[in-house]
């Protein structure tokens, strides 16, 4: 496969975010990207080709995970970045922030078990319409770690129907064989949903951590293929300005 396009990524950091260092590391050291952290008070995102909202506990996850982060100064700029067609990717807590901010449909509930989930899960790529996922084959299975307390995705039936019809379901939890079953569902998510996109396909989020599975030495590198697809599908800054 051809080399990855060299893009510049901003990794957004709220007070309480804790996955930014490994996210920047994977982008720069493993995937040949340029990347730096973006503090939540920054508002100028014009240098970036894409943004990643990293995992953690933004603003302590007080009230609801992501509820307060939504009012950080950087969020207005992220909304504009997304409206311009820029790639915005939420991982774990970043997913929670993006649904609270209304950049993605639905909401997050506490895991049905009421316990913090921390283990490897299997994800099945769905037939998504998002360019960020065009490098994945629907049905392909990825083994990646998940670590969250509020990862049970919920949406009203009419919203879910619309998302499904639009190809906005990105990933579902599944077994090793790709079968989507209740036993493979680690957190009670509606229809085993683990990742979704907006209608435009340029905002994507998933609860598991592809950046934690980007090197075989750490137990697996399936996450790397997900990140590579995102990089290939992101619309670069110059293309958006044109």
């Amino acid at each position: 496969m051809s080399a990855l396009p060299p893009l510049n990524w901003g990794v957004v950091v709220f007070p309480g975010t804790n996955c930014e260092i490994e996210t920047v590391y994977v982008l720069k050291e493993l995937l040949g990207q340029d990347a730096r952290t973006v503090w939540h008070r920054e508002t100028d995102l014009s240098e970036f080709d894409g943004l990643i909202l990293a995992g953690g506990f933004a603003h302590g996850d007080y009230l609801r995970a992501g509820a307060v982060a939504r009012f950080s100064p950087v969020m207005d700029s992220i909304s504009r970045f997304a409206a311009d067609g820029g790639a915005v990717v939420g991982i774990c807590n970043g997913f929670q922030v993006l649904v609270e901010a209304g950049l993605l449909p639905g909401a997050m509930l506490h895991n049905r078990s009421r316990r913090f989930l921390s283990r490897w899960v299997n994800l099945r790529a769905e037939a998504s319409s998002s360019p960020l996922l065009s490098g994945l084959t629907p049905g392909e299975v990825f083994r990646v770690p998940a670590a969250h307390g509020e990862g049970c995705f919920f949406a009203d039936p009419d919203v879910l129907a619309e998302m499904t019809a639009n190809g906005q379901i990105a990933f579902r939890y599944c077994g090793e064989d790709g079968a989507v079953t209740d036993t493979a569902n680690p957190n009670g998510s509606l229809e085993c949903i683990a990742g979704v996109t907006n209608a435009g396909g340029n905002v994507l989020a998933l609860m598991p951590h592809p950046e934690r599975a980007a090197e075989a030495v750490l137990g697996g590198d399936d996450g790397r293929r997900i990140l590579e697809s995102i990089i290939r599908g992101a619309r670069p800054r110059l293309a958006r300005a044109a």
Binding site: A67, V68, A107, L109, R114, D156
Partner: protein, 82 residues
Amino acid sequence: MARARITIRLKPTVLDTQGAVVKTALHSLGFDGVLDVHMGKSIQLDLEAGVGRSEVEAMCRQLLANPVIEDFEIELTDGANA
């Protein structure tokens, strides 16, 4: 000083896993008469006089509750404009 008490609960269409766990615990203690448990949050706001219900409702919609999954009730006391 006016005061608002806000009760936030999951919508009836959303499974209340916390309530289900507490119900099981109450049953295990022998409180068999408990039919259902609904968990939620209680938030108290101390307000300047004159802050009205519509403003508190706006606070609930914009931050305190997530309308996708939660309902809220507001109780205003001590001279707030109802």
